[in-house]
């Protein structure tokens, strides 16, 4: 009898394990992509490895509702709260249009926008899934100069919200809240060279390089072999010719 009870306990415990394990970090979410929020700048590689997890998951600065910060008080994203980092500042007038990028479409309670403690924008989500794209135009009221805007996506069916911060310079002011001196010292961009957008073809037989625009028919060498481009693209790490026969044909 005792054993039977043990067996029942084991059986009862199993479904709990099954339900708990797959959830993991399954999450997925959203951030402001335009103008480039701090998280979007991290995803662009603009700050190198400084950003921590935000470089991989700009969409996952998730925390309980009601916070006023950039990370959702989520430790893996704490660098987003660091005002001393060289965040790019967006120049704007009093009216600002923002676009969210979602990786999952949670049912939405509402969107809130704050400067300091002042709510400068509110958009109801009607407890529906967001539309694509989700773009809001808000009035920044009487604020001028250098300001930090908190953009908050309040989820309808969880206690959580997603947080995104945008550094602004409103109406060309810039004196009310001078940027930290570190703003002018951007880290060297050697690890993340800017994407080359020119369409000029590299010299035939040149060595393959990331972030280069290749036209169909361009030839490169990589690892001692030659390859011909089959599909126009801008190259990137992971798309080295031997990895992607769809893009490069060995010649």
């Amino acid at each position: 009898m005792k054993l039977m009870r043990k067996a029942a306990l084991v059986l009862a415990a199993v479904p709990a394990i099954v339900f708990i394990t797959p959830v993991g970090s399954a999450s997925a979410h959203g951030y402001i992509s335009s103008p480039a929020s701090r998280a979007a700048q991290c995803a662009q590689g603009a700050l190198g490895d400084t950003c921590g997890q935000a470089r991989y998951e700009p969409q996952s600065a998730e925390g309980p509702k009601g916070l006023k910060n950039c990370s959702g008080a989520n430790g893996a994203f704490r660098e987003l709260d660091n005002d001393a980092l060289p965040w790019k500042v967006h120049n704007t007038g009093s009216s600002l249009t923002l676009t969210w990028t979602f990786t999952a479409r949670h049912v939405t309670r509402d969107y809130e926008y704050f400067i300091g403690g002042t709510r400068v924008g509110f958009v109801s989500g009607n407890n529906a899934q967001p539309s694509n794209p989700t773009t809001h135009t808000i009035n920044l009221g009487g604020f001028t100069g250098r300001q930090k805007l908190y953009a908050i996506w309040n989820i309808g069916d969880t206690v959580n919200a997603f947080y995104s911060c945008i550094d602004l310079n409103i109406n060309g002011g810039g004196t009310t809240n001078p940027p930290p001196t570190t703003t002018t010292t951007r880290p060297p961009t050697t690890t993340n060279p800017p994407v080359t957008t020119t369409t000029q073809q590299p010299p035939a037989g040149g060595t393959w390089a990331a972030n280069t625009s290749y036209a169909v028919g361009s030839t490169v060498t990589y690892g001692g072999s030659s390859y011909r481009c089959r599909q126009a693209h801008t190259s990137l790490t992971g798309w080295e010719p031997p990895n992607v026969a769809a893009l490069w044909e060995k010649v």
Partner: protein, 198 residues
């Protein structure tokens, strides 16, 4: 009786997080071939549930990405967006062929990707309706919506790959996850630079 309890527990645990091995002789057909890259790199025989779930979810994820790429190829106005759509289309088709062959090797079904995503807490960004609605936009508005959707979709792929890196054990699958992280991050960088300026 005691044995029964243990057997029940073992069976139950094997159902979640166990590992499996394909019988000798069936695995690793992509190995030791020659220096020429095989068209479909094989996966080796040792894998666990996380590997299978990741590959099943990626099959669905890749198909949705291909559908969106097709829309981008047909309607994007900027050459940059069009080229990216074309490159995502062909590379993800290649990945899809590879992943389907792995599932076959492991004797696992392709599964119902959409249900898998829901079971894993996601409400996927893309479905047929969202992809169809994207077709209704034109010009620059189309481009921005397309890039925005693709940025989000590929970002979700990074999340799935990070989970696989943490929980998976099959070396080919975890290596593929690494490549998903690198290539999607690269694509997202390219797209964000178009969306919000360099």
């Amino acid at each position: 009786m005691k044995r029964l309890v243990i057997a029940v527990a073992v069976l139950a645990l094997a159902g979640c997080g166990g590992e499996a091995v394909v019988p000798e002789g069936q695995g690793a057909h992509g190995h030791g071939a020659s220096s020429a890259a095989p068209p479909v790199p094989g996966a080796s025989a040792r894998f666990n549930d996380a590997d299978v779930t990741f590959v099943q979810m990626m099959v669905d994820h890749l198909q949705l990405g291909i559908s969106l790429s097709q829309v981008g190829l047909a309607k994007a106005t900027s050459q940059e967006a069009k080229d990216l759509a074309g490159a995502i289309d062909v590379t993800q088709r290649e990945e899809l062929t590879m992943l389907k062959s792995w599932l076959k090797l492991w004797d696992k079904p392709e599964g119902d990707g959409a249900n898998l995503h829901v079971a894993h807490g996601g409400q996927p960004l893309l479905d047929d309706k969202v992809i169809n609605e994207a077709k209704d936009k034109n010009g620059a508005e189309f481009d921005m919506n397309f890039l925005n959707l693709m940025t989000g979709h590929q970002g979700a792929g990074v999340e799935m790959a990070l989970d696989e890196k943490k929980d998976g054990m099959n070396p080919e699958t975890t290596a593929y996850a690494e490549r998903v992280i690198a290539t999607r991050q690269g694509q997202i960088q390219q797209m964000l630079k178009i969306i919000s300026g360099p």
